[in-house]
């Protein structure tokens, strides 16, 4: 009898456990919102198809405005419809896309990919060269930097959607209380870090150097003039890797020095550790892109009276300021698309009306890569209530986006990011100097590239 009861209890708890697993598997998007409809079937849309009996293009995306933008597109187009689904956000979706490419089925026609991951899917033969389908006609709709980011050699492999011009978010109240000027150069930033440390007894750090902040680190490298990777999809077996030059070392020596002196934190990005640190007044600045304005209010306790403002990113040389980008997405067409020309057209036109661009701005919080929108008075005059109605778009972010010149990304982003994090972690923990970390990273990347059949230039 006892055994029976125990079995029953075990059974009930197991059933509960199975139910819990079921729930957790369903929410795999990690805050992506929406359902997790993997697989690009045309009957499995998150949206309603408004016009029947016309070609349907499948689309994986996770932007907050996608549901509304796609609905608007379907309502205003009667010759093609989009079937949208959310296959997870960032890495989750990339894993699914990679697996679909590997298994040669299951990928959607159009897929949202962040700039830094495009080459990784290109090298897998996953993306269509849009120049074969007339993408050049749309070139003038986008900023030059964004266009360069979606190009490789003579090909264009995606349509830019939004950008992440980088600025400095800062606690105006903390700077004011301690009588510290807002830094405009990295030297001033380091000096302000010292002053802040002295004034608060180490309680407030100027910022955070996240071991896993690869997107940020790549922007820092770009700002200092480093060109870690040169890769042209036209010559797929060749690559140039230059990750231990003076510019690369300068960037990380600067940050590791701040770490060693205890002037910046080393919380992992995108963890509750960092969020509570930023919200709890542990950090006075965050070097983040414009899209971070949507995150900061979530971290901050509104009662705490914190005053957040945005300023341009500090410079190495104020005489030659360099604007950099971190993040933002593109729409690429996969090689599994049944009609690549149609998919290219849809990708290019998804955000090409003012109405849908405004949905992107207002519902998605997007900083669109389209000069027509970001140079408009409407966009420049947007006031951000949480930031004291600051009009930071017009103040400097729009100019920063227009000045951004574009970069080249690695064709093996995941490996590169993992190795960069691993080796920088060693430096953060004091096991190696920043310079040694860069040398080790260079060696690791060269070995990997050779193993993968690349010829090093």
């Amino acid at each position: 009898m006892i055994k029976k009861k125990a079995l029953l209890a075990a059974g009930v708890t197991t059933a509960l456990a199975v139910a819990l697993v079921g729930c957790s598997a369903g929410n795999g998007g990690g805050g992506g919102g929406g359902g997790n409809n993997a697989g690009a079937s045309k009957t499995n849309c998150a949206n309603d198809i408004k016009v029947k009996d016309v070609p349907v293009v499948t689309y994986w995306g996770w932007l907050p405005d996608t549901a509304m933008t796609v609905d608007n597109f379907n309502e205003t187009n009667d010759d093609v419809q989009i079937c949208w689904s959310n296959a997870g956000q960032g890495g989750d979706q990339y894993t699914k896309l990679s697996t679909s490419l590997q298994s040669k089925s299951g990928a959607p026609d159009i897929v949202q990919i962040e700039y830094d991951w495009l080459n990784s899917f290109l090298i897998q033969g996953g993306l269509v060269d849009m120049t074969e389908h007339g993408i050049e006609d749309y070139k003038d709709n986008f900023t030059e930097g964004a266009w360069r980011d979606v190009s490789s050699g003579d090909g264009v492999y995606a349509v830019p959607v939004d950008l992440g011009p980088v600025g400095m978010w800062y606690r105006a109240d903390i700077f004011e209380e301690n009588g510290i000027a807002i830094p405009t150069t990295w030297d001033e930033y380091a000096a302000a870090a010292e002053q802040l440390d002295a004034a608060t007894g180490g309680a407030v750090k100027i910022g955070n150097f996240a071991p896993n902040g690869q997107g940020q680190h790549y922007a820092f490298l770009d700002q200092a003039g480093a060109v870690p990777f040169e890769f042209d999809n036209g010559k797929q077996t060749e690559i140039t890797i230059n990750h231990n030059d003076d510019a690369s070392k300068q960037v990380f020596e600067y940050w590791i020095d701040l770490v060693e002196r205890g002037l910046v934190g080393t919380d992992q990005a995108w963890t509750p550790e960092f969020s509570t640190g930023l919200g709890g007044g542990k950090y006075a600045t965050a070097i983040y892109p414009v899209w971070y304005n949507a995150h900061i209010p979530d971290f901050e306790d509104p009662e705490a009276g914190a005053v957040w403002r945005a300023a341009p990113i500090p410079q190495w040389d104020t005489a030659n300021p360099v604007q950099v980008n971190w993040g933002g997405s593109t729409l690429a067409v996969t090689t599994q698309a049944s009609d690549a020309a149609l998919a290219t057209k849809v990708a290019a036109e998804l955000y090409n009306t003012e109405e849908r661009q405004k949905l992107g701005v207002e519902e998605g919080g997007l900083f669109l890569a389209m000069p027509e929108m970001i140079e408009s008075d409407y966009f420049k005059d947007l006031e951000y209530e949480f930031f004291g109605n600051q009009k930071f778009n017009g103040e400097f972010f729009v100019q920063a986006a227009l000045d951004y010149e574009g970069v080249q990304f690695s064709p093996f982003t995941q490996y590169y990011y993992d190795e960069m994090q691993r080796l920088l972690s060693e430096s953060i923990e004091g096991n190696s100097t920043a310079s040694e970390a860069m040398d080790a990273l260079q060696k690791s990347l060269e070995t990997y590239a050779t193993e993968q059949g690349f010829t090093l230039n």
């Binding site: 006892i2 055994k3 009861k5 125990a6 209890a9 075990a10 708890t13 197991t14 509960l16 456990a17 819990l20 697993v21 957790s24 894993t95 990679s98 697996t99 590997q102 990784s120 090298i123 897998q124 071991p211 896993n212 797929q236 077996t237 690559i239 919380d267 992992q268 995108w270 963890t271 509750p272 550790e273 509570t276 640190g277 064709p411 093996f412 995941q414 490996y415 993992d418 994090q421 691993r422 972690s425 953060i428 923990e429 193993e451 993968q452 059949g453 690349f454």
Partner: protein, 312 residues
């Protein structure tokens, strides 16, 4: 095949003939009953394994494309520093985990077998419950408990104005993982041992009591030897589970990125190779190499303990 119907006398020829046709009929029905399982077993286990093995014999580089490469991936695996250091790490885990888990499970099972009160039944459920919590959720929960900025330990240490230790740092992650896995699996092994203790004939205990054995002596000299086969079983489970260690490091890696890298355990390495680095072929080879090592370890252990376990 089967000759079980005639145990006592040799079959007359005619009976043998009839028996054979009956056997055939049985065999046919046997296959019908076996089919649902056999099909699933073939489609979802044997075929994928065969396909993965075929993949492991090929090499696919990002820039070069796919070609047959024989055992080159295996040669590479057994010379791959990251794979080998992962193996050494899980071997280290096995040396720590297995004795702790099985030791605790045995002690709990012996106590619960002896003490039969309402409280002991409740305790038994309590020890078992962590196993019923999905591994991912358990690991997430411990991730928050170990958090260096808002875990309960931080609050405790703040009371005495001290800096709480970072349980997710490179130095302590090993022990944090040990803690999580012990918490999760001890109850499961305890139930197996406990069930086997329950099946012992109580008259043996009575005989021991009459002979003047203490409870400790009964436990050590009667109970433990009788449940030795269950112990061997749980140790094998525990060993295999540890060598294939994956869920907990995978879930904790975003929180402890400095301490848990992409090749922290061989299984994690295989996963990352396939799904992060698109090296499906090499990942297959790593998986088979790991499988081989797990298989060999289990076989060696089973042979070493075959007297105790009653397995031959």
């Amino acid at each position: 095949m089967s000759t079980t119907p005639q145990l006592t006398e040799p079959r007359p020829p005619i009976a043998k003939k009839r028996g054979t046709s009956l056997d055939r009929k049985h065999a046919r029905f046997g296959w019908v009953f076996l089919a649902p399982f056999a099909i699933i077993f073939l489609v979802f286990l044997v075929l994928p394994l065969a396909y993965a093995f075929w993949m492991s014999l090929h090499t696919n580089t990002l820039a070069g494309g796919e070609q047959f490469s024989g055992l080159a991936n295996y040669v590479r695996a057994f010379n791959d520093e990251r794979f080998l250091s992962g193996m050494v790490r899980v071997a280290g885990f096995a040396i720590i985990f297995v004795p702790i888990q099985i030791g605790l499970a045995l002690i709990f099972a012996l106590i619960l077998d002896d003490v039969r009160t309402r409280f002991s039944r409740f305790t038994r459920l309590l020890i078992f419950v962590p196993y019923a919590i999905p591994g991912v959720i358990g690991a997430l929960m411990w991730g928050f408990l170990c958090s260096p900025s808002f875990g309960p330990l931080v609050t405790l240490f703040e009371l005495i104005n001290a800096q709480a230790p970072d349980l997710l740092s490179r130095d302590s992650i090993f022990w944090s993982l040990t803690n999580i896995v012990t918490w999760q699996w001890t109850g499961y092994y305890m139930i197996i041992i406990y069930a086997s203790l329950q099946s012992i004939d109580p008259s043996i205990y009575e005989a021991a009591r009459i002979d003047g054995a203490t409870k400790l002596q009964t436990a050590l000299h009667i109970k433990v030897p009788i449940v030795a086969s269950s112990l061997v079983l749980t140790i094998v489970f525990s060993l295999i589970g540890t060598l294939q260690f994956f869920t907990e490091p995978q879930v904790l890696s975003p929180l402890a990125g400095n301490a848990i890298d992409a090749a922290y355990t061989p299984n994690l390495y295989a996963y990352n190779l396939a799904f992060s680095y698109q090296q499906f072929n090499y990942a297959s080879a790593i998986s088979f190499a790991l499988g081989l090592l797990v298989f060999l370890t289990s076989i060696v252990f089973l042979i070493a303990t075959r007297k105790k376990s009653g397995l031959r």
